[in-house]
């Protein structure tokens, strides 16, 4: 058994695909129409055979409630690892991405939280050398 797939809830799949590829820099792996929605996954160009991330429609009212509650409480839905947080922070901010604060040290990692424009806060973290 392996963990190869996870998902983020998104309020609009077109918007999500644009943000996760054009802005964050992930690469589209699957985009298959399934009825009214699409099965869309993206992977990291730094690890295309790692985890696949599905951009999951939040059409279920329960999903919307969960997503909005997390957002209002400033809780990130998930986290992505980066090797140079300061550089990513500057790169993304220059592209209009909204962060909740400057990169901050938090124990063994440095973190920053951004809005993915699809209803989620996403945490970026850089493991610090000890």
């Amino acid at each position: 058994m392996r963990i190869k797939l996870t998902s983020v809830l998104v309020d609009d799949q077109d918007k999500a695909l644009k943000f996760y590829t054009d802005v964050l820099g992930f690469v589209k792996k699957h985009d298959v129409p399934v009825g009214e929605y699409r099965w869309i996954t993206v992977v990291s160009p730094e690890g295309p055979d790692d985890l696949e991330l599905a951009l999951e429609p939040n059409a279920n009212p329960a999903a919307k409630t969960y997503q909005e509650a997390l957002f209002k409480q400033r809780i990130p839905l998930t986290a992505f690892e980066v090797s140079d947080l300061d550089a990513e922070f500057e790169r993304l901010r220059a592209r209009g991405v909204v962060f909740t604060g400057e990169p901050t040290k938090a124990g063994p990692v440095k973190i920053a939280v951004l809005s993915d424009t699809c209803g989620n806060l996403i945490q970026l973290y850089q493991p610090l050398e000890t």
Partner: protein, 177 residues
């Protein structure tokens, strides 16, 4: 940078924009409630949520219209009014453009999929794994990993297809028992 107060205000604004009645607050009024100028409000909202307040409101109205068409007995005209549009023509045009079918055709289609009266078909709100299970068995995603875990999912997909349009689990169970 998004402060705690800014986030709270913009979230409240988003809740207000989801209000679909004709009497709902105007964008300017929502901006005022959020203590921002309309220009600043629209810009911050777009940065945070990836669409302007107007685009968000329109999407929320169309979502509500879809649910009303699926579940209520309202006429298309009443649905149009209920979700805050004042012109049936512009409502129908926008609905067709975004959803891919006119309101009346959408209602007919979606109702043909409802198996439990007064319940929405699952197609309206799938989870991602539901989507995966409904992918066609010959889909590239399964071909690529044939023989592995995904083949099992392909079998699931085939059996789902064989069982007919069982979009809702409880209905599916009922049919098979």
């Amino acid at each position: 940078m998004l402060t705690r107060t800014g986030l709270t205000r913009l979230c409240r604004a988003r809740d207000q924009l989801r209000e679909t009645l004709v009497s709902a607050l105007s964008i300017e009024e929502v901006a005022r409630e959020a203590s921002m100028s309309p220009y600043h409000f629209i810009r911050r909202f777009d940065e945070l949520f990836g669409e302007t307040p107007h685009q968000y409101r329109t999407r929320a109205r169309l979502e509500r219209a879809k649910h009303l068409l699926a579940l209520s007995d309202y006429s298309v005209t009443n649905v149009c009014m209920e979700v805050g549009f004042t012109s049936l023509g512009s409502f129908s045009r926008l609905f067709t453009q975004r959803v891919g079918a006119p309101p009346s055709a959408y209602r007919k289609h979606i109702r043909s999929q409802v198996q439990i009266p007064a319940a929405l078909p699952q197609v309206l709100f799938p989870g991602c794994l539901n989507l995966m299970a409904r992918l066609p068995a010959d889909c590239a995603i399964f071909k690529k990993h044939r023989g592995g875990r995904s083949a099992t999912l392909a079998e699931v997909s085939t059996s789902v297809a064989a069982a007919g349009p069982a979009e809702s689990d409880p209905a599916g169970e009922k049919e098979s028992s």
